[in-house]
C-alpha cells in the first residue's frame, strides 16, 4: 500500500522562511491598514455546514468544495469562501450590532480544482466586508481601500477594474432566453468568447438587447467605454441606470486620485447571482490572475435572514507575496548571537540573552552541553558566541 505521509496534498504547500515571511508581511500590512480604518478582525471556522454555501442561488458549484461528514452524518465543507461565513455570522451574532459593521479577515479558503494546472487549492485571502450601509460613500470607502491596497504592493503597475452586474442583468432580462442559455451567454461574455457569442446570438431575434449583448465583451477600457455603452443601450432605462450608477462611482473614485490605474469592464459578469451592483477586480504586473476581487452583494445577508446591503473585497495574499518576492527579496530576521552559559551559569546566561533581546537584538540560547560544540555550531552559522560565566566574553566567528 502506498503511504502518503511525506508529501502534502496537491494544490497545498508548506511555506518556509522567506515564503512564509513574505505572505505574513503582506497579511500584516493589509490587516493593519484595515484596522486603522475601523475594521475589526474576525476568524470563522475552517469547517462549515454545506448548507451555508448551498443557498437557492447556488453561489458555489458543489464539485469545487471539499466535503466531509460530521458525527451526525451531516454534510460539511472545508471553507471555500470567507464572505458567506461572515454573512452567516453577521446575520446571527451581530444582528443587534449598530451599523455599519466593518469586518476584516486573513484566512485560507479551499477549492477543489482540476489538478496539475499550476493552481492552488488552498488560497490565503485577506479582505474586508462593509455591512449594513448601502450608500455611495460606503461603496467608495471599499473601492478607495481596494485602490490603496493595490498601490501599496511592491510590484510594477496595477489596475483596478470596475464593472456593474446590473448592466448585463438589464440587457438579459429583455431577452426571452431560458436560464441555461442565459448561463451560456454569461459565461461567453465572462471569457470574452467573441466568436461563440456571435454565433449563439446570430440565431436569436435581432432586438436592441441582443445587439448590445453581442458588444458587451468589447466594452472595456477607459472612460470612453461609457459613451459606447450608453449608445449601445439606448432606450433601455435599466441598463442606463446601471451605467449612471457606475459612472458616478467611477468619476468620484477617479477624483480621489490615480485615474490611470482605474479601468472599466462591463463584461465582468462573474458570479452574477451573488453580486448585485458594482463589481471590482484588481490586477498587478507580473501575476497572471486577478489578485483582488469584490463588489456589492446586497442580497447575500438576506439569504441568512438579515436584509441589509454590503460590499467587500478579498485579496489573494499568496499571489501578491509571490509577485512581490520576484523583485523584492525578503530579508529574514535571522539570529545575531548565540548565548552560552558555562556550567552553573545557565540561569545567568538566560537573563543575559533577555537583556540583549530587550536591546533589540535577536539572540538564541546555546543548547549544546560543551563550549566546543557550541562554537562549532556557531561557526557553521557565522554567529558570534557570548560566553557567560562570572563575566561575559564574546567569541567572534
Amino acid at each position: 500500500m502506498n503511504r502518503f505521509d511525506l508529501i502534502t496534498p496537491e494544490g497545498t504547500r508548506d511555506l518556509l522562511f522567506e515564503e512564509c515571511a513574505a505572505v505574513k508581511a503582506v497579511e500584516n500590512r493589509l490587516i493593519q491598514s484595515f484596522k486603522a480604518k475601523g475594521y475589526s478582525e474576525v476568524v470563522t471556522p475552517g469547517l462549515e455546514f454545506y448548507d451555508v454555501f448551498d443557498s437557492k442561488s447556488r453561489y458555489f458549484p458543489q464539485e469545487s468544495m471539499y466535503k466531509l461528514v460530521d458525527n451526525k452524518s451531516r454534510l460539511m465543507v472545508v471553507r471555500p469562501d470567507s464572505t458567506m461565513p461572515i454573512a452567516r455570522m453577521t446575520a446571527t451574532r451581530l444582528r443587534e450590532h449598530s451599523i455599519p459593521i466593518r469586518l476584516c479577515y486573513a484566512q485560507s479558503v479551499f477549492r477543489n480544482r482540476p489538478g496539475m494546472r499550476g493552481r492552488r487549492d488552498e488560497i490565503r485571502q485577506t479582505g474586508i466586508e462593509l455591512i449594513g450601509v448601502g450608500t455611495r460613500r460606503a461603496e467608495l470607502e471599499m473601492l478607495g481601500m481596494a485602490l490603496g491596497v493595490l498601490s501599496s504592493f511592491r510590484t510594477g503597475g496595477f489596475r483596478l477594474e470596475l464593472g456593474h452586474i446590473g448592466f448585463f442583468k438589464a440587457l438579459i432580462a429583455k431577452t426571452g432566453f431560458d436560464s441555461d442559455t442565459v448561463e451560456t451567454i454569461r459565461s461567453l461574455i465572462e471569457y470574452k468568447n467573441y466568436p461563440a457569442l456571435g454565433d449563439l446570438l446570430e440565431n436569436a431575434e435581432d432586438t436592441p438587447a441582443v445587439r448590445a449583448l453581442k458588444q458587451l465583451p468589447r466594452l472595456f477600457g477607459g472612460e470612453e467605454v461609457f459613451d459606447k455603452a450608453y449608445k449601445i443601450a439606448e432606450g433601455d432605462d435599466d441598463a442606463a441606470a446601471a451605467l449612471d450608477d457606475l459612472r458616478q462611482t467611477y468619476s468620484r473614485l477617479v477624483s480621489m486620485g490615480s485615474a490611470g490605474g482605474i479601468t472599466i469592464d462591463l463584461g465582468l459578469v462573474n458570479r452574477m447571482d451573488y453580486y448585485t451592483g458594482i463589481v471590482v477586480k484588481g490586477y498587478i504586473e507580473g501575476c497572471g490572475d486577478a489578485v483582488l476581487s469584490g463588489g456589492r452583494y446586497d442580497r447575500l445577508l438576506a439569504d441568512f435572514g438579515l436584509d441589509v446591503p454590503a460590499t467587500g473585497f478579498a485579496v489573494n495574499t499568496d499571489s501578491v507575496a509571490r509577485t512581490e518576492m520576484k523583485t523584492n527579496p525578503v530579508e529574514l530576521e535571522t539570529v545575531q548571537a548565540v548565548v552560552y552559559g558555562e556550567d552553573g551559569f545557565e540561569t545567568k546566561a538566560a537573563a543575559y540573552a533577555d537583556e540583549l533581546i530587550a536591546k533589540g537584538m535577536r539572540a538564541e540560547n546555546g543548547v549544546f552541553d560543551t563550549l566546543d560544540e557550541t562554537l562549532a555550531y556557531a561557526k557553521k552559522k557565522g554567529l558570534p558566541v557570548h560566553v557567560v560565566s562570572d563575566s561575559v566574553r564574546i567569541i567572534e566567528n
Binding site: R159, Y191, Y194, Y283, D289
Partner: protein, 217 residues
C-alpha cells in the same frame, strides 16, 4: 508571470497551426525569419515586439492560463477538452475540422440496451457529448490512432477529430454523428488583455482584417 522582456509573448501550437499562424503574422508584416530558421530553439523573436513560444496544444493553454504567455493559438478541440480560464478572442478560421462520433460502417450505434464503450483521445469531450444525451458510456482513453479500437473490438465507437474522413473510410469506418466544428482560436491571459490592452487590440484588429479579407475572397 515572468515575462520581463516587455515583448508580447504568444504561444503557438507546434505543427500546422504554427505554420498557419506564422503565415498570418507575415501577412501583417511581421518578420518571421527566426521561426523559419528555428532549429531546436523554442522561444523565437518575431519582429521587434513579439516573441513566439512553440508548445504542444494543451501546454499552450497552461502557459496562457498561468500568465507566462500573453496570447496563444490553439485548436478549439484542445480548448473544449481542457476547459480553462482565459479569454477566447478570435476564431482564426484555419485548422478547420469537426469532432465526430464514428464507428464501423453500417453499424447501428444507438440500438440495443448495452452500455457502449467509446475510445477517444478526448475523454472530456466524449463524456460531455453523452451526458447531454443522458447516456451512460464507458470511456477508454487511447493515445494514438483511435480508429484501431473499434476494429480490434475494444470499443463500439470512437469520438475523434475528422477532417476529410479519408482515414475513417480506408479503415472501414464512418461518421455516425457530428458533434461540433473546430478551428484555431486566439486566446489571451485574463490579466494580459487588461494590462496590455492597446498592443493586443492592435494585433487583433490586424488579424481580423486579414481573416475578413480571406473570408470575402
Amino acid at each position: 508571470m515572468d515575462n520581463n522582456t516587455g515583448k508580447l509573448r504568444i504561444a503557438l501550437t507546434k505543427g500546422r497551426l504554427e505554420k498557419d499562424t506564422v503565415a498570418l503574422l507575415e501577412k501583417l508584416g511581421y518578420d518571421c525569419t527566426a521561426v523559419h530558421e528555428k532549429g531546436r530553439r523554442l522561444i523565437l523573436p518575431v519582429g521587434d515586439s513579439i516573441e513566439v513560444v512553440l508548445a504542444k496544444a494543451a501546454d499552450v493553454i497552461t502557459y496562457v492560463e498561468n500568465g507566462v504567455c500573453d496570447l496563444g493559438v490553439v485548436g478549439k478541440d484542445t480548448i473544449i477538452e481542457m476547459n480553462g480560464k482565459f479569454f477566447e478572442l478570435v476564431d482564426l478560421g484555419f485548422g478547420r475540422c469537426r469532432f465526430a462520433l464514428a464507428g464501423k460502417k453500417g453499424g447501428d450505434f444507438y440500438s440495443g440496451t448495452h452500455v457502449r464503450t467509446i475510445a477517444t483521445k478526448y475523454p472530456n469531450v466524449a463524456r460531455g457529448f453523452f451526458e447531454k444525451k443522458n447516456m451512460d458510456v464507458e470511456i477508454v482513453k487511447i493515445e494514438g490512432s483511435v480508429e484501431l479500437a473499434p476494429l480490434l473490438g475494444l470499443s463500439h465507437a470512437i469520438v475523434d477529430i475528422v477532417e476529410t474522413g479519408t482515414t475513417l473510410k480506408e479503415n472501414g469506418l464512418e461518421v455516425y454523428e457530428y458533434i461540433c466544428p473546430i478551428s484555431a482560436r486566439l486566446i489571451a491571459n485574463m490579466v494580459s488583455l487588461k494590462m496590455r490592452k492597446a498592443e493586443i487590440e492592435e494585433l487583433i484588429s490586424g488579424i481580423e482584417g486579414v481573416i475578413g479579407c480571406q473570408d470575402k475572397a
